[in-house]
Symmetry: C2
Subunit: 432 residues, 2 copies
């Protein structure tokens, strides 16, 4: 087993004989020397071949991405980039690579479609590993924070017979003789678990939307960071929890991914308080401050509105995040707790012009829930098992969900959400 990662080597190892197993990331002949940049999951190091004519000849024939075992001596580096390099004594090829369909050195940028077609090769770019290390830190810090607050991790079914929002935008699964769907969100199940006395739950899992949109901000399969908790007073408890959570996640990425952030040339914003606007306030800002009368009777926010509200928050509160609370019930799911006859206790979290999270207080009373299902034109029979649970002790509760890819995309200034998904699933893409 490989027991030495490249990052483990330091100046203290000067003079040591080492064995590195890695990929050939770059080859640069320079007079009678050949420099090879070796790459593994932990980093890169320069290996130098010199003098030995047989070895020089062998090194000349290496391909990029050849998998090699290099033995050599750790020596001080002549370059300014790194303090050490390895003087090569032997190279063994563990597996030969063919010429690559994509440049991965960053010299010849490829178009995203090509990159996704050859995604495995594309992912070899160190920038990609950095993106997904940061995404992994987002997921892990999400869990750490919630665990510390007494939340329990759960895993809910993705094959469901009930739909969350009532039938639209669902992928159908042939499950033996049953007609089932891929869950649009763990909404129903996380609520059931709060009622079941788990009280505080979180889940990191896939969610599925059969949306035909083919935009830079939609995926049909995405990672949903879900939270649900009982015994809240109202949605403001959730907003306060999410604010603390997001701050913790940002801090964790800043602390634990400094190398990756440097590589991607990204600074993590420090956040103090996230401003909160109500939906009526948002409409006022859009119609009055930005002077766009068309927003007057809107019941939801469009992408342009999200961008302007973030711009407003940035200019007036020096914050790139903004909560929008009390969305009109009309555009929100049946389980949304009403605030009054028009508005619901439902909020979005916007970040740099994009909704990255939605949450709210849920209805916990059976009668009101049944009424709202009917008012939304849904069939209560389709929600039988869900509704039934509210008869057996449902506490006041609510939760939220963060889209991991959207958060990653905005945090790292990626231009397309597909760059924040290892193997994105979109309207026309099911491979690789």
């Amino acid at each position: 087993m490989k027991d030495l990662l490249i990052k483990d080597l330091s100046e203290e190892d000067k003079g040591k004989e080492v064995t590195l197993r890695a990929w050939v990331h770059q080859i640069r002949p320079l007079g009678r020397l050949i420099f090879i940049i070796l790459r593994d999951c932990s980093g890169m190091i320069q290996a130098v071949v010199k003098e030995d004519p047989k070895l020089l000849d062998f090194a000349k024939k290496l391909n990029l991405e050849d998998v090699v075992e290099v033995k050599g001596t750790v020596i001080p580096s002549r370059s300014k980039i790194a303090p050490i390099e390895v003087q090569v004594k032997s190279i063994k090829i563990l597996n030969k690579s063919s010429p690559l369909p994509l440049d991965i050195s960053g010299k010849v940028p490829a178009e995203l479609g090509t990159r996704l077609r050859y995604r495995v090769v594309d992912l070899k770019r160190p920038e990609n590993l950095a993106i997904f290390r940061i995404q992994a830190e987002l997921m892990d810090s999400f869990r750490r924070f919630l665990r510390s607050k007494g939340f329990i991790e759960v895993s809910t079914p993705k094959i469901v017979a009930m739909s969350t929002e009532g039938g639209a935008e669902l992928f159908e699964v042939k499950y033996f003789e049953y007609k089932t769907y891929l869950a649009q969100s763990p909404q129903i199940y996380k609520q059931l678990l709060v009622i079941a006395g788990f009280e505080r739950v979180y889940e990191v899992g896939h969610a599925y939307r059969a949306e035909k949109h083919n935009t830079i901000r939609h995926l049909n399969e995405y990672i949903s960071l879900d939270v649900e908790m009982g015994f809240i007073d109202n949605e403001n408890d959730l907003i306060s929890l999410e604010e603390k959570l997001v701050k913790y996640m940002l801090k964790s990425v800043a602390e634990n991914c400094s190398h990756e952030l440097k590589l991607l040339n990204v600074d993590i914003p420090t956040v103090d308080r996230i401003p909160k606007f109500t939906f009526p306030e948002v409409i006022e800002i859009l119609t009055e401050y930005y002077n766009i009368p068309e927003y007057k009777d809107q019941t939801d926010l469009d992408p342009r509105g999200e961008e302007l509200i973030c711009q407003y928050a940035k200019e007036n509160y020096d914050c790139e995040f903004a909560f929008v609370d009390l969305f009109p019930l009309e555009g929100r799911p049946f389980y949304t707790m009403p605030y009054d006859s028009k508005l619901g206790r439902s909020f979005d979290l916007l970040f740099r012009g994009l909704e990255i999270s939605t949450g709210g207080q849920r209805i916990h009373r059976y009668d009101l829930l049944l009424k709202r299902i009917k008012e939304k034109g849904l069939n209560p029979e389709n929600f039988k098992y869900y509704l039934e649970a509210f008869k057996y002790g449902a506490p006041p509760h609510g939760g939220f969900a963060i889209g991991a890819e959207r958060f990653t995309m905005k945090l790292l200034h990626l231009k397309n959400i597909r760059e924040a998904s290892l193997f994105p699933r979109d309207r026309y893409r099911v491979t690789p």
Copy 2:
């Protein structure tokens, strides 16, 4: 927001006025007193109602699972079970419960089918919360261990156009105009990520098997704890890693779930070395030691064989785990690295008579992989994107996967794997 969990109360709080928000778990009238056991996600506490006739009258009418807000004073308890209790000053009903369809006190055990029909009520039993807290610790300790070894967490697509084993036992998903399936395992994608230079990856995610078995050890949707790593010498590196991992997971559960283990009356086994047998040795044990000649020409292990090998390991090595290595290629997937013409570098981990994990070294050479796909009667065209990746620098690699529910089931002596799944999906169950 609820800021006091029941478990936070201790003897130091004697005399304090507290507000508890919880479920009514039990009610016991005793002469002119009424004892109420309150339950939240963190534990239980006794609340005592006395003297106040109005309050006694109110308390008498409480239902089990009513959601209540109780204000009262922390006092020393007269019972021996707990040092403190709460003397009630007021009770407010946050949501009323109907009479329960199931007894959740443990006095009247219900049949599993009924329990799963009313799963939300069934999950209210403290034993169930304990089971899933332990499962959460298994998942979390799995991640912690691998993170500490330089592994990166990934999330791979569950909607796939390629099948891992070639078309059998797949759930079909209607994905717009494409015919896709639910991934049987992240096998293909975790291998692709190793090739892509991620080198060491893990994933906790759902896997789907359209098996028609309706047994106590099969689920159609289960949690797969997946690991894959590059630059191994052979499968023994993986066996060694998995041994360390399993020991860490057991230790973590023992340390972090003592309360839950006590409630379930379970002891966590301490493991030193896990014995390893080769498949030919296993056949010899079964035919010679256990004198069952029918095993002579077997190419796979059946449940009885798994039980006997675990019995053998227990009797001869005092270990409830056993690795079986070098399974015949015939019963293993095409990507299995051959050991010789008959056997593959593929292993199982058995625990208390059940296979809880499968792993092995994979083929990393394009030519051999293509040959094995053809020999298995599969169409290379269906593996186009997978095969292609092996041209661009695939290191020697391998991995394994642990079934979270199987591990939980065996660890906690559960009789049926459905008890280790919050909302199990089986041959005839897609709700709740």
